[in-house]
Amino acid sequence: MEACLDYQSAVYKDAYSRINALVIEGEAQAVHNYEQLAELIPAEAETLRKLAAMENRHRAGFTACGRNLQVEPDMAFAKRFFQSLEDNFRVAADTGDLAACLVIQSLIIECFAIAAYNIYIPVADEFARRITENVVKDEYLHLNFGQEYLQRNFDQIKAGVERANAVNLPLVWQMLNGVTEDAQVLGMEREALVEDFMIGYGGALGEIGFSTREVMKMSSHGLRGV
């Protein structure tokens, strides 16, 4: 696959301008979300601010990836792309719905990032590959934080996680459908991306305390966004 990709071609750069923007915007949202979470969970504030700082470094790293290919990221597209998820996080934070905040940032966004980065690494240009390999290691730590927090508070947050899953998972599918063609140009296959996401997300729900049956039911909500 890699051998077929021409990183300097107009078609590659055009697709990259949107995918790169999504990644930069996703990381920027993560910075904001972790800072919000630090206010919502004062006992974990120090850790959460560290996570926010890591996400900010990722944002800078991916900005450098775009610059390296001389691609101008289409940030307006990325803003529109994330709008629904951003709105949902803001409403959850404003109403103190911690379960929803953690589902959106610590599970959905982190699992999506991990899946996308893992699928991207084998087809990335050398510069981006090195950066992405380091980023994905951090993202596992972030996912782990969310998992552990939700696991400790499973009884209190279980219903909230289910509600937030039902609302937000279909959004992820819709978002994914919106970038399928661009991702394909970059050598990233939709079905591999979805499968990796479902493995990570389902695994996280299982770690938190949901049964296999519950995980499968919750995962099926994504299909409503197809």
Partner: protein, 341 residues
């Protein structure tokens, strides 16, 4: 803990199982969905040896479907198996058998070179193809079946269809070294491999399928990769013993003629009931006790604490290893499925 990695027969079967399990959202989905579906640990199994020892295991549904191969989606098929293996390793399963097409995909697409699955490096010592036990069971089925039909296996014309595969070549070696079969008919697509096998064995007649079927007293069908056996019963000799080691096993229903005896190859029957729910979804008679020999291999290795890749690599199975796994099989209460079973 042992593990089993399995898959369903086809898309319709997968939809039916999803419905029966109460997942109607999945039951209505087409092949595209199964291409994206993650592996799932769907059953906890416990099995008791006739020695009294009890072991526990997990069944992992890979979500692979044979249509992925017939549709040329080799990358998807490979991903399914690697993801299922990573899932097994994440569940800390000590020894896991790759059932059905899983081991064929692993070997044919050289997945041993792709052992990095996300953040998991596959430890291949935790996996076995189960082929040594399958080969042993098929050979025993041929030996016992021939005897039950009053045939002298050593003097019979024995055709091995798919002779160059991992199981096929092991069967040929056993027939030669343990059963003293004099007239071995070797059939396979790859003529170079077939000639190499003949050289290794020191004898055997190379034939096409069309040449071998009408003259064989015993037919052992172990061809891989979606070559379910299709035979015109009218051309076969009578009596004829057929061991259907292909997948899916469709011969018993397809061949209804007096004097033709078809055995489901590579199936064992346990002396005691096995505690598993997934049995209801195997298209196999009496699934409380019957199972694929490859699955049983991981159980045998777990019983014996042999957490090692017992069957691995192509054409490495020796008659000595088959004797060894056969002895363990009998020790723990497994029997090859026979004509009267």
């Amino acid at each position: 803990m042992f593990g089993l990695i399995g898959h369903l027969t086809d898309l319709a079967h997968a939809q039916e199982v999803a419905h029966d399990l109460g997942y109607d959202e999945y039951a209505s989905q087409g092949l595209e969905f199964w291409c994206m579906a993650p592996p799932q640990a769907v059953d906890e199994i416990s099995i008791t040896s006739i020695t009294g020892q009890v072991i526990h295991g997990t069944y992992i549904e890979s979500c692979f479907l044979p249509e992925m191969l017939s549709g040329g989606k080799f990358k998807t098929a490979s991903r399914k198996i690697l993801n299922a293996m990573a899932h097994a390793q994440k569940q800390c399963l000590d020894i896991t058998a790759l059932g059905g097409f899983a081991s064929i995909i692993f070997e044919n697409f050289n997945l041993e070179k792709m052992t990095q699955v996300r953040d998991i490096t596959l430890d291949l010592d935790r996996f076995t193809t189960g082929n040594t036990h399958t080969a042993y069971v098929i050979c025993e089925q041929a030996r016992r079946g021939a005897s039950a039909l009053g045939m002298d296996l050593a003097r019979s014309q024995v055709a091995v269809i798919g002779a160059t595969g991992d199981i096929g070549s092991a069967v040929c070696r056993w027939l030669s070294q343990r059963a003293g079969v004099e007239k071995l008919l070797l059939v396979a697509r790859n003529q170079e491999r077939l000639t190499n096998l003949q050289t290794q064995l020191g004898y055997g007649t190379l034939m096409t399928l069309e040449q071998a079927l009408p003259v064989a007293d015993v037919i052992i069908w172990v061809a891989a990769l979606g070559q379910a056996m299709q035979v015109d019963p009218g051309i076969l000799k009578t009596p004829c013993l057929i061991i259907d080691g292909g997948y899916p096993k469709n011969l018993q229903a397809a061949i209804q003629r007096e004097g033709i005896y078809v055995l489901e190859g590579g199936i064992v029957e346990h002396a005691l009931d096995i505690n598993w729910k997934i049995k209801n979804f195997f298209r196999i008679a009496n699934p409380t006790r019957r199972l694929f020999a490859c699955f049983a291999e991981s159980m045998l290795l777990e019983f014996e604490g042999l957490h090692t890749s017992y069957s691995w690599g192509r054409n490495q199975i020796t008659p000595e290893r088959m004797d060894e796994i056969g002895s363990l099989s009998r020790k723990h209460g497994f029997q090859p499925l026979g004509i009267s079973s």
